[in-house]
């Protein structure tokens, strides 16, 4: 193993600073308090989703159903309240739906051993389709006035800081605690580092993997609630957007290795900030949606290249000849 002179995290912080300075110099609109707050607010939801994705990637998986899990359970909550059900019942239904899909993901991946990529692509499109076909009569689920007692989740700033940012910080703190201080958190790292080793060490790998996907589903639902409360509706069309790519971009560029077992919450935070600056700068520059995708795709591919270079799959590459 080479000693790494630069950690990926410091490289990302450096790039962020360079980009931010560049935008600040050439775009007068960039470095205003309003814009910085807006920038963070826009990526706070992405940041929360990325926390969930980070756990999965650390445990050597991937979850493409996260956007569907952001949209459908929280949309269901809004719809049920709209239809006259009480808030506790609607909340229970939303989290039960997320739980069921987390369990399905986890069961198919851990016990049936289907690749996480295909499993979550399948459950994701199923869930999104179910939402659009069965639950929601409108593309945008409106926020009923009965819900105003829940508004605090996503709106109403604390000390001028917008609520989604506060919620992102809270989630990041909870996730830090989970990954660093709990036994289950250590298990997630162990499974991501060496799944066979974790099994022979006596770690119940399959239940832990199921737990990972359930947790990711819950985090996605939480992100959905924050989002709905902050924009006072749930636009179900975002399932069709490129949001999941932004999430993967944040996780990889932040330095959570796709090989598993590597990365921390701080990686997600720097990744979120970098992507926030990138998206915000492009918006101010009035780069078209399609051109933004070209940039995002390029950045994602470069990040993947770096990730492969920095975190090579050791067990494959270091194989020696059989003597």
């Amino acid at each position: 193993m080479k000693k790494q002179v630069f950690s990926q995290q410091s490289v990302v912080i450096l790039i962020s600073l360079v980009m931010a300075t560049g935008f600040a110099i050439f775009l007068p609109a960039f470095l205003t308090v309003l814009n910085v707050v807006a920038l963070l607010q826009n990526v706070a939801i992405l940041g929360i989703l990325s926390l969930g994705m980070a756990i999965i990637v650390i445990g050597r998986g991937i979850d493409f159903s996260m956007v569907a899990l952001l949209v459908v359970p929280s949309g269901l909550l809004l719809q049920l309240v709209q239809d006259g059900h009480s808030i506790p019942i609607a909340l229970a239904a939303a989290f039960a739906l997320a739980l069921v899909f987390g369990l399905i993901n986890g069961f198919l991946i851990a016990y049936v051993e289907i690749s996480p990529l295909f499993t979550t692509l399948g459950t994701g499109i199923f869930l999104a389709g179910m939402g659009q076909a069965v639950f929601f009569p409108l593309d945008v689920v409106p926020w009923g006035p009965q819900l105003n007692s829940m508004e605090w989740i996503g709106s109403g700033p604390i000390l001028q800081i917008p609520k989604p940012i506060v919620m992102f910080v809270l989630a990041a703190m909870a996730m830090t605690f989970f990954l660093r201080k709990t036994r289950l958190g250590s298990y997630v790292y162990a499974i991501g580092d060496n799944p066979h080793g974790a099994r022979t060490t006596g770690i119940p790998t399959r239940p832990v993997i199921v737990f990972m996907y359930v947790l990711a589903a819950m985090i996605a639902t939480y992100a959905g609630l924050v989002m709905a409360a902050s924009i006072h509706s749930m636009p179900t069309r975002i399932y069709n957007s490129t949001m999941i790519y932004d999430v993967i971009l944040i996780v990889i560029i932040g330095g959570i290795g796709m090989t598993g077992g590597r990365g921390r919450v701080s990686n997600v935070i720097v990744g979120t900030v970098l992507i926030g600056i990138l998206l915000n700068g492009m918006t101010i520059l009035d780069v078209s949606y399609s051109a933004q995708n070209v940039v995002k795709g390029t950045v994602l591919l470069i990040a993947l290249l770096f990730d492969t270079y920095l975190n090579p799959r050791n067990e494959d590459t270091a194989q020696q000849g059989d003597v």
Binding site: D193, G197, A198, T201, G202
Partner: protein
Amino acid sequence: MADNILELHDATKKYAGVPAIEDINFTLERGEIHSIVGENGAGKSTLTKVMAGVVTLNGGKMLLDGAEISPQTPVEARNLGIAMVFQENSLVPTMTAAQNLFLGQENAFNRIRRINIEAQQFFQSLQFDVDPVTVVSLLGAAKKQMIEIARAVKNSAKVIIFDEPTASLTPEEKLHFFNLVRALKERGVSIIFISHALEEALLISDRITVLRDGKHIVTDKNSNFDRARVVKAMVGRDLSQTIYGQRKSVTRPAGKKVLTVRNLRMGSQVKSCALSVFAGQVTGIFGLVGSGRTETFKIVAGVMKRDFRHGGDVLLNDRPVSYVVPAPAIRGGIAYITEDRKLEGFFETKSIAENIYLGLLAKLRGKRKLVSKKEADQVGQTWAKRLNIRTINTEVRAVELSGGNQQKVVIAKSLIQDPELIIFDEPTRGVDVGAIEEIHKLINTLADQGKPVVVISSYLPEIMSLSDRILVFRTGKVVEEFSAAEATEEKIMYSAIH
């Protein structure tokens, strides 16, 4: 002067600086059947891989028909006329026999009917009874092998190398295979035959070469060999005594019976295996690769699953147990220390302390909901000291350690789980000499403390110096048991290779 088709002079191949074969001189005469025999790791596979272009030499040269060659890839070797029939056959299971025969040489417009007819004619010319339109996955091992051989002959191979060709064959199929090999010889093909089964080598070869520890020991006509001479050449050692210490003079008596295995079965790898392990002594397990020794103990430790029906019994302290994952086995007190520490041993991105601490967490389960860095450090330091893991501090990541220290981390990770029965699988593979001695001392200490210890090893001197009792595996079961006093390397090897 013999007519040599293939010659190797001072052939040397090193993997990461460690020689797998060293200064080997080897000649293959035209139209002979030449067997290469030796223990696991003697260098048979490497030698033949060099000839087949799978690996290239670091030193020495290879001559084919007197001209120097150096094939870089198996394709190149095959074009030169050297073909290898691998242990694991290389046919495409979803294609027919004919398609496989022509694989890689199809015309741009590949007419199935034409290749079926040509394959039929070709199989007939070899007197192989293979239906060209049958899909390969439906064929038995012997038929698959025929297709492989046919493919080699079709590519006008002058030299065909067989690596353990009889391992998956039934006795009748074996006889048929030997006839095939003799027929090939009649066609002027030279054959190299690698086998663990000594009888087969003695039955079929014209000449036999014995390798040991990567070196050429002896080559002679078959008629000058008998079993005893081959076995002696395979195991005779000089270096081993200095590394592995003398044989023990006092053996420990058997304590309480801790583990009983009865009639254990798993697919084709473990067949009606029965054995017992006693407290307070080291039970050495010897067997060649594929004898089912590792699989048997992996079933005991829950790493593998026995057959669902008629899988047999495992009794721990006279209580039947059946673990299907390792976690409950560890709670039950069985520690299996893997032979492949990279694949299923340590966590490479974690420090020594974290690695060992994970072992503790897995054992304690619900009693440690939260982890403590302090406890991890403490555990790391205690065990690094106890097992003499040499490093600057316990924060170093496991992947940066030497093989010996990695092995000690894996051992510590299991011992912290306070096991009742400890199974070491190849405890000193890829471990430096100093660490070998320490690990052996540790194994002896555990047995002295009254623990039942199992040591699985392919290396006879290791088995001889550690064991109080030796069980020999062959074809998926225990075939012989020796006490340390009566065992000799020759006797053990004799029963391991029927």
